[in-house]
């Protein structure tokens, strides 16, 4: 072998070795929803750009929560990237379980992230998870039924209007319910809805000394209003309805109004799935004139567990998946209506995206929720439809079970609130807050 050939062979070998050492396989745990599945299908773009391979572990939301919490709290290292929400991020960031995302590239443009999202995914001013998509909640309503009822939906309605409209739109003979809302037990299901609704009634979970507030008039008003309206105009068995059940009812034309996650807008306006796709419009979640609306704020975000051996590759993936160029990639492949919404300011400055019927209302809803000042009276916690403390998920699940039992008529609203008050105070005392 000539010297030239030897040098070429050695160079080739070293390049192969170097590229082999560089190419990593990163494992990502994620939730099963349309946006995440779309990202899974576009991963080849990331691999082509970086050489890194991605292995996906897709799980149902509750299974994912349990799985990633077990792994990160034991430093298991099974995942290099985790999909987590606004509830977990500040808690895990405070525990030192996540890699701070304070050194993202200039090209990434972290300042472009919507302030409400960045705030909810930070701890003490440091971003710990990059928002993949953000959502709030809003009213989705049937324009034909509203017109038939002789009403016009204001852009920012009150609860009084919603109750009246629901009653007028209800047509039991034709199986049309004026309003569909979550009632299902679970802190992320009915618990999230009633907490966000209670904010607009002037209620709060805790006072500034972490005392439970379910014995207040504001909570009694919230629950009595909800139950009264749903008994009048809601679907049968609403106490067990969650997002999917209401989506199914709305798509089949059985709901006049539905107040739920803004991401539902793309489902109900999709003619392939929805029988009422061309008869839907949107409005801000209702209020009571107290300065707080009843919409929530949530983001599914990508975080890197501290201690992962593949931090550099994981960071590259997080940057890729939550970048402006990823949004453009989705738009080019699947259209603007399918890009992950609610994370970046620049998306809402894009005239193409603003043509999507629910774009402006999604942005308005997100901007009207403030996780750092969610209630009429001051609270010691961050979060609109949750309190970002580790104990909340367990307590709120139990509280929502009591509320669901009241919706189902198994106990009175007063009994449910009394039990919620007692169990919350007990749990907070046991946890050392009181």
């Amino acid at each position: 072998m000539s010297l030239r050939n030897s040098v070429l062979a050695a160079t080739a070998m070293s390049l192969v070795t170097a590229s082999g050492a560089f190419a990593e396989t990163v494992t990502i745990a994620t939730v099963n929803n349309g946006d995440m599945i779309r990202m899974q299908g576009l991963t080849d773009d990331f691999t082509a750009k970086t050489g890194h391979v991605v292995e996906w572990v897709t799980l149902e939301e509750n299974v994912l929560r349990q799985r990633v919490t077990t792994d990160i709290s034991t430093k298991g290292g099974a995942f290099d990237i985790m999909t987590i929400g606004m509830y977990e991020t500040p808690i895990w960031g405070a525990n030192g379980w996540l890699v701070p995302l304070d050194d993202l590239s200039a090209e990434y443009d972290a300042d472009d992230i919507l302030p409400a999202m960045a705030g909810g995914l930070s701890y003490e001013g440091t971003l710990y998870a990059a928002p993949f998509y953000g959502e709030s909640s809003m009213i989705m309503y049937r324009t034909d039924l509203m017109e038939k009822a002789g009403l016009e939906m204001p852009k920012a309605p009150t609860w009084t209007f919603i109750r009246e409209a629901a009653a007028k739109m209800t047509d039991r003979a034709n199986d049309i319910n004026g309003i569909c809302l979550r009632g299902k037990a679970g802190w992320g299901e009915g618990g999230a809805f009633i907490t966000a609704m209670s904010n607009s009634f002037g209620a709060r979970w805790f006072d500034e000394d972490w005392n439970a507030q379910f014995d207040t008039e504001a909570w009694a008003n919230t629950l009595n209003f909800y139950k009264g309206m749903m008994d009048e105009s809601g679907p049968a068995g609403y106490a067990t309805n969650g997002f999917n059940e209401n989506l199914s009812l709305f798509q089949q034309g059985k709901c006049g109004m539905w107040i739920d996650a803004t991401v539902a807008a793309s489902f109900v306006t999709n003619p392939n799935d929805s029988t009422v796709a061309d008869k839907v419009s949107f409005a801000l979640a209702p209020d009571n004139g107290l300065g707080k609306r009843s919409n929530w704020l949530w983001a599914w975000a990508l975080a890197i567990p501290a201690g992962t051996q593949k931090e550099a590759a994981a960071k590259l993936f997080v940057e890729w998946a939550t970048s402006k160029s990823y949004i453009e990639l989705v738009a080019a492949n699947e259209g603007w209506a399918n890009v992950p919404p609610g994370a970046r300011k620049s998306l809402y400055e894009n005239p193409e995206y603003m043509k999507v019927p629910f774009a402006q209302m999604t942005l308005d809803s997100i901007l009207s929720a403030n996780p750092e000042n969610p209630t009429v009276d001051p609270v010691p916690y961050v979060g609109v439809q949750f309190a970002a403390i580790p104990e909340f998920a367990g307590i709120a699940t139990e509280v929502s079970q009591e509320f669901s039992a009241a919706y189902a008529g198994q106990q009175t609203v007063e009994e449910a609130l009394a039990k919620a008050q007692a169990l919350t105070n007990d749990a907070m005392e046991a946890a050392g807050y009181r």
Partner: protein, 276 residues
């Protein structure tokens, strides 16, 4: 004296048995039917039973998105491995309990069974930490060990009941003929207990195949079996019931076929001895 069964009673019994059978099988049938519907048809009200346009689009979507073959292979290795390992340990254990009992044998058997009553989540963290220390998180061998351990009480109990039905004199005769302990268990006891061992084996394969707590919590991308495959199609925010049904049908199909072909052994095994 044999009881006479009238023709009318026979018909009633048969109809009742079929009704109960169909009732039990209906959720599986509905899952299979839903897997051939579109997502819109899957949530139609009133529900569509057979009158819909059958489609394979859900199967195509599932095959495109997931590596079904890898999940299937993991399930085969985990269910098969844990059952074989369990049988290897349980045969001598059940032999000693059946043929050389002590006064504490019944207590030990009950204690073994009582471990099945502990909620699995109660030991999740200790097991998870052990797996991390041993470096067997997200490995098939780790799951083989765990599933073998959680099913071992049932395997021992079942084998113990079968062995108790075998006359001890046969083993004594073998011993008198000069058989060693190993030869006695391997060449005398095991061949006589083959039907019992086979039904125990089948039942444990089914139990291991369907196990969905440890297989979800101790795996990530590499060792995840079909239970994780199904979980990846469940979503509380989005109606993907048709795809979920297609994934479920693909996950249960192998074990359903196995159960179908081995139902005689399963039934005879389950109605034998103390479990009848």
């Amino acid at each position: 004296m044999a009881r006479t069964v009238t023709q009318k009673r026979k018909i009633i019994n048969t109809a009742a048995a079929w009704s109960v059978g169909l009732l039990i099988f209906f959720p599986i049938l509905w899952t299979i039917l839903t897997s051939f519907k579109t997502e819109a048809q899957a949530i139609a009200d009133p529900p569509l039973f057979l009158g819909f346009d059958w489609t394979l689009e859900n199967y195509a979507a599932v095959m495109e998105r997931s590596n079904y073959g890898r999940f299937l292979w993991n399930s085969i290795v985990i269910a098969g491995g844990s059952t074989i390992l369990g049988i290897i340990i349980a045969v001598p254990a059940a032999w000693s309990m059946a043929f050389v009992p002590s006064k504490r044998t019944k207590d030990i058997l009950l204690w073994m069974l009582s471990t099945k009553m502990l909620p699995a989540v109660g030991v999740l963290y200790p097991i998870y930490l052990l797996f991390i220390r041993l470096g067997i998180l997200d490995t098939k061998i780790g799951l083989v060990i765990v599933l073998m351990l959680i099913n071992l009480p049932i395997i021992v109990w079942m084998l113990y009941t079968y062995f108790k039905e075998i006359p001890g004199e046969i083993l004594e005769a073998a011993r008198m003929d000069g058989a060693t302990l190993k030869e006695e268990v391997l060449y005398v006891l095991t061949p006589m207990a083959i039907p019992g061992i086979a039904s125990t084996l089948l039942l444990n394969v089914i139990l291991a195949w369907n196990e969905a707590f440890w297989t979800l919590n101790l795996t990530a991308a590499k060792a995840a079996p079909l239970t994780a495959f199904i979980a990846s199609y469940s979503s509380p925010e989005g109606l993907f019931y048709a795809k979920l049904s297609a994934a479920s049908t693909m996950a249960i199909a192998p074990i359903l076929i196995l159960g179908w072909f081995s139902q005689k052994q399963l039934v005879s095994g389950l109605t034998f001895g103390a479990v009848k």
